[in-house]
């Protein structure tokens, strides 16, 4: 049986007389022991979804089950079996690292020593600071402590809401390595992130936008579905380049990606030769054009592009 089953979940919020749709009929399943990513920009509805699955919020319509327990009826069972790490750091800032961990262990009727092997890898990194108050830790340390606290009762499903937002690149990499190790322990993990590059680290991802899921699959399959050729373009005047590419009727979409602009043409016959000709005509110099494979961000942009049309 799947660890998480979501069926047609919808949620609307009342914002000053107008209704805002946060989730619009979402359905997906997460298999046991899977690292499942939910990728989408801010406001896509990721946090609402997590709050519904962790029994903090009631959905307007639809049903969801976590480890076979209904999120409404069996909320007490769910609270015993899941670990939740909210996007905002919400441990006690005025308690020390050790006291926080001890507190969460006790309220789950367990102790640090009982599940120490599960958190050992992570906890060892913050153990030198165990007497320090949680509020005085750096961002990355806070993340690690929050993860320890979410793991201390050996949950079978772990919900991580944007765990890497506001954390430096090195800590982010470490964090994902930790998640891979936790997966090996048989914990099903749901993680949301606004960073596209992290999506490729998941077993499967759901691309989300405006309360809807645009695609769910393995990152490699999502990428392979990207049908049209993709060109990376660079020149001496990047700002003017973006403007003229966007105004060119032969271009389907164009967006910046690192040092390059990624360009998708409307017709597949048009290739680097046509682009080069167009740019030369517009007096651009030092032109670099190469064909590249689509990554998850390109797929996401393409999906967003089609869903908006």
């Amino acid at each position: 049986m799947a660890a998480v089953i979501v069926e047609n979940i919808s949620k609307k919020y009342q914002v000053e007389k107008t209704k805002v749709t946060a989730l619009n009929g979402i359905s997906f399943e997460v298999a046991k022991g899977e690292l499942f990513g939910i990728v989408g920009p801010d406001g896509a509805g990721k946090t609402s979804l997590f709050r519904i699955l962790t029994t903090l919020l009631l959905a307007d319509a639809g049903a969801a089950r976590v480890e076979g327990y209904d999120v409404v009826k069996d909320y007490k069972e769910i609270r015993k079996t899941v670990g939740y790490m909210p996007g905002k750091f919400s441990l006690y800032q005025d308690l020390s690292v050790e006291e926080n961990l001890d507190f969460f262990a006790t309220i789950f009727n367990t102790s640090i020593s009982e599940n120490y092997d599960l958190i050992k890898d992570i906890y060892q990194q913050i153990e030198p600071f165990k007497k320090r108050r949680a509020g005085k830790l750096s961002g990355g340390m806070k993340q690690k402590l929050a993860l320890c606290c979410a793991l201390i009762h050996k949950p079978s499903v772990l919900f991580l809401d944007e765990p890497t937002t506001g954390v430096d690149a090195v800590s982010r990499k470490e964090f994902w390595e930790m998640l891979q190790r936790l997966k090996l322990q048989g914990i099903s993990i749901l993680v949301s992130t606004p960073y596209m590059d992290e999506a490729s680290l998941c077993d499967r991802v759901a691309l989300m936008e405006n309360g809807k899921i645009l695609a769910i699959d393995k990152p490699s399959i999502i990428n392979s579905k990207f049908s049209k050729p993709l060109w990376a373009v660079q020149s001496n005047n990047m700002f003017a380049l973006l403007k003229s590419l966007k105004n060119w009727e032969a271009v389907s979409s164009c967006y910046s990606f690192g040092e390059f602009y990624h360009v998708v043409m409307k017709s597949e016959e048009k290739g680097s030769r046509e682009i080069e000709e167009f740019l030369m005509k517009n007096q651009f110099q030092e032109i670099v054009i190469k064909q590249i494979d689509a990554n998850i961000e390109d797929s996401f942009m393409a999906l967003m592009h089609t869903s908006n049309e």
């Binding site: 029994t55 609270r79 015993k80 939740y84 909210p86 441990l91 006690y92 507190f103 006790t106 309220i107």
Partner: protein, 372 residues
């Protein structure tokens, strides 16, 4: 049970780690108890007096001397025209003008009759009222004094005289502090019991820790008890500090059994803790909780009989004070400390406060359930 024990341990750790809260708990009662009763003394002293003396006679001098020596008046101006004296009232330097007419002495001696004029600055109504009354009674006294010197009273006075003797029960010296200190103590307990509790719970909401707690198997009543018990204990600690200050700083020796005060305070704290819980279910930020608390505190104090006696309020306001738990506690502390009342004397108060406690706590729990 161990969960509750651990919640309490965590709560106390946090309280004792927060220097601001510690200061509030221990310094606030001490400072308030020492300062407020001194300031809120309704005895009128230092009434500023201006005299317009048109007579400049020995009798007039004697009378002014007598007024000055009463201790209630400060002579700040002495002139021979009424206009000059009135200017002092206009510039708010004087509270009362006493005008002594010309031929004051002559008229007393020759015609057995004279008159004086008192003009009062009534901006501060109470000071004006009492100042004028004091002045009148001093002049009356002076009048008797000179009559005694001039006329030999017959053994049986021609007119009947009613002489009134007042004896002050429970507070023989009419010491205002005896009345104020127990009441300030009651207000303090209300602040610690309800407002600190509300702020503490709302803080968990604001920081987001309540989210984290909500996904754990902690039961709601464990969480609520974990919040209320520490402040119940702190409330009793504040009461103890207050009683020590009352006993040793003000030398007020409670006549009744102090355990009666503790017994009532223990029940009363349940009531104000319920109020704190209720505020926290409505407020989302500490700022909101603070403003609600401030508003309620004003009402509680002004409708609680702390400064002005409830009996002299309009009858519909008196009915409002029935819904003010603070007024019952103020009443009980005064009764026990000054009159020595026992449990049987305050049993009505106890029933009412138990009612309040049940009502406020049920409302809070009901509202807490609704929002979650």
């Amino acid at each position: 049970m161990s969960v509750l024990k651990y919640l309490l341990q965590k709560e106390f750790r946090q309280i004792f780690r927060d220097p601001a809260i510690l200061r509030i708990i221990f310094m606030m009662p001490a400072l308030q108890l020492i300062i407020i009763p001194m300031a809120a003394d309704f005895e009128v002293r230092n009434v500023n007096l201006a005299v317009a003396d048109h007579d400049h006679s020995a009798y007039a001098q004697q009378m002014v001397q007598k007024i000055k020596s009463s201790g209630y008046f400060k002579l700040i101006h002495y002139s021979s025209t009424y206009q000059d004296a009135l200017k002092n009232i206009e510039s708010d330097k004087a509270d009362v003008v006493l005008e002594i007419p010309s031929n004051f002495e002559k008229n007393i001696i020759r015609e057995d009759h004279t008159s004086l004029f008192i003009a009062v600055n009534a901006v501060n109504g109470m000071k004006a009222n009492l100042g004028a009354a004091y002045l009148q009674s001093i002049i009356q006294d002076y009048n008797n004094q000179i009559r005694l010197k001039w006329i030999q009273f017959p053994k049986i006075p021609p007119q009947t005289n009613i002489e009134v003797t007042v004896s002050n029960w429970f507070n023989p010296m009419l010491n205002y502090k005896y009345f104020m200190v127990p009441a300030v103590l009651a207000t303090l307990l209300t602040m610690v019991g309800s407002f600190l509790t509300a702020l503490n719970i709302v803080r968990e909401k604001e920081i987001g820790t309540i989210e984290q707690i909500n996904v754990t198997p902690i039961k709601k009543y464990h969480f609520i008890l974990g919040k209320l018990i520490p402040f119940w204990i702190l409330g009793l600690v504040v009461l103890t500090i207050g009683l020590i200050i009352m006993r040793f700083f003000y030398q007020i020796h409670p006549i009744g059994n102090i355990l009666v005060v503790y017994f009532f305070a223990a029940i009363y704290l349940l009531c104000v803790l319920g109020l704190g819980l209720l505020i926290s279910t409505y407020a989302d930020t500490q700022q909101q909780a603070m403003l609600i608390s401030f508003f309620l505190l004003m009402i509680f104090i002004l409708l609680g009989g702390l400064f002005t006696p409830i009996d002299s309020m309009p009858s519909w306001v008196q009915k409002l004070t029935w819904f003010n738990p603070v007024s019952y506690f103020i009443d009980v502390v005064r009764m026990v400390v000054l009159k020595g009342s026992g449990l049987s004397d305050i049993k009505n108060h106890i029933f009412i406060i138990v009612g309040f406690a049940i009502f406020l706590n049920s409302w809070a729990v009901w509202n807490y359930k609704k929002t979650n």
